[in-house]
């Protein structure tokens, strides 16, 4: 059997539906006339499994898994990593510091731009955004430990 993209896609949905069912153990199902907290989630998880299976068994119509292009994968992974780091630091470092670091990181590490140009662009963008939010909307963005 040739592994095709819908084998993976359908399989993932079946797995997800089973996971949801497993997590719903303690939720009361109730009856049709008075559905409980677990009624609709279980019902929809069941549908997900059914549709997932349908996709799985019709997978022959889809393209083989090997033809999916992953050339953009490295770029995507780097962007995710840098954004995740920024999210982790956001509440402790504050808006200005985190966002400058994130933009410089994206431009220098991912895009291999000149550090100086990247820094200049990031500082300007972040400061203008900050000023607009604080001065015009009176909605201060997150501040860091140093008061900015």
């Amino acid at each position: 059997m040739n592994l095709r993209s819908d084998h993976v896609g359908g399989g993932a949905f079946v797995g997800f539906g089973v996971l949801v069912l497993a997590l719903s153990g303690d939720l009361p199902t109730g009856q049709l006339s008075m559905p409980g907290a677990g009624f609709l989630p279980k019902l929809i998880a069941a549908f997900t499994i059914i549709f997932g299976l349908a996709l799985f068994f019709r997978a022959r119509e889809s393209e083989p898994l090997s033809t999916l292009g992953w050339s953009d994968g490295k770029h995507a992974a780097l962007v995710i990593a840098i954004t995740a780091a920024a999210t982790a630091l956001y509440t402790s470092l504050g808006f200005i510091t985190t966002m400058m670091l994130m933009m410089i990181g994206l431009l220098v590490i991912v895009e291999r731009r000149n550090v100086l140009r990247a820094a200049l662009y990031s500082v300007c963008t972040v400061m203008v955004t900050y000023a607009v939010f604080v001065l015009v909307l009176k909605a201060p963005l997150l501040t860091g430990p140093l008061g900015f």
Partner: protein, 327 residues
């Protein structure tokens, strides 16, 4: 670093430490104070907290920022406040909900995320008596009509609330217990506004709602107030009898209070309390609150603490009466 300098250094920092609280007492607050509001705009909490913050600014001579951290019936805000640094710069504006979370968590066998012990009560700002209101198409003219009919037809009359175990659900449980009504059927909605809309559309026949929220509809004749959960008759609705007058010892208010996280130094509390008292008694704040149809119900820290204990007892009792919902 040689030994002598080390000794001097430690003494100096010890001195600085000792002087710390006194220093803080003199200068608190040295920067902006944040009041975390655990409820979204559109409710009583937001409407009361913002004018208070505005009145507090000139007294503390620092900006007072209201930050909304709404979610999970006020639990998110309470949790954020409880875990914030207890330095007096983060306060919490909350309501009845703060009393009940622990009891509800107990019911479901969950570890409570916050308990009452996590907070120091600073001031109660308003206390809005709850009213029992019915849709005007319903035949009930008095509480007795309502109770009699409810006894005759158990589990038939539908009442709407702003949410399960919330401040507009618990009073019904108290009422059921006091009057011996076997069971009213509960229609939970997601907020005070939707609960009143359901009542106006006659999708629910009764509801227990705050006076301020229903006043306009009572005046317009769309809703009828049968009884008040207040200790005395309200000045705005003098014709509505209190439950106490009618012989039922039940009292319940929708209140808004200001809290500090546990561990806030007493020196700082002793600066904040009088400041909030002054702000709550300012004309600016009182006008704003009265216009909202609320009766200013300021209580200082001590009286509020006593009130809160009594209120929490009522709330725990009501949660236990309701128990876990079927289904």
């Amino acid at each position: 670093m040689d030994r002598r300098r080390f000794v001097i250094g430690t003494t100096a920092s010890a001195a600085a430490l000792a002087a710390g609280p006194a220093f803080a007492q003199e200068t608190f607050p040295s920067h902006a104070v944040t009041i975390i509001n655990a409820f979204p705009p559109g409710g009583a909490n937001d409407a009361v907290t913002r004018p208070l913050a505005a009145a507090l600014e000139p007294i503390l001579k620092q900006p007072v920022v209201v930050e909304t951290k709404a979610g999970a019936g006020g639990q998110v805000g309470a949790q954020v406040a409880a875990s914030s640094k207890p330095d007096g710069y983060t306060l919490l504006s909350h309501n009845n909900g703060i009393s009940g979370y622990a009891e509800v968590d107990k019911l479901f066998g969950r570890a409570p995320k916050t308990t009452r012990a996590d907070f120091i009560p600073l001031a109660r700002l308003v206390a809005d008596p709850i009213l029992l209101v019915v849709n005007d198409q319903q035949p009930y003219k008095t509480l007795k009509d309502f109770v009699d009919d409810a006894k005759k037809r158990p589990d038939t009359i539908v009442y709407s609330s702003g949410g399960l175990y919330g401040a507009t659900h618990l009073p019904v449980a108290l009422l059921e217990k006091a009057t011996g009504v076997p069971k009213l059927r509960h229609l939970p909605t997601n907020g005070g506004g939707p609960a009143i809309t359901a009542l106006l559309g006659n999708n629910a026949q009764a509801s227990t709602q705050a006076t301020s929220a229903t006043l306009q509809h009572i005046k317009a004749g769309k809703l009828r107030a049968l009884a008040s959960f207040g200790g005395t008759r309200s000045k705005i609705l003098p014709d509505v009898p209190t439950l106490k007058e009618l012989g039922y010892n039940v009292e319940y208010y929708l209140w808004v209070g200001i809290f500090a996280p546990k561990g806030t130094p007493p020196q700082i509390v002793s600066i904040l309390s009088p400041a909030i008292e002054k702000a709550a008694n300012s004309d600016q704040f009182k006008t704003a609150v009265t216009n909202l149809g609320l009766e200013p119900g300021y209580l200082n820290a001590k009286n509020f603490a006593a009130f809160w204990d009594a209120d929490a007892k009522r709330s725990d009792e009501a949660v236990k009466t309701i128990g876990k919902v079927q289904g």
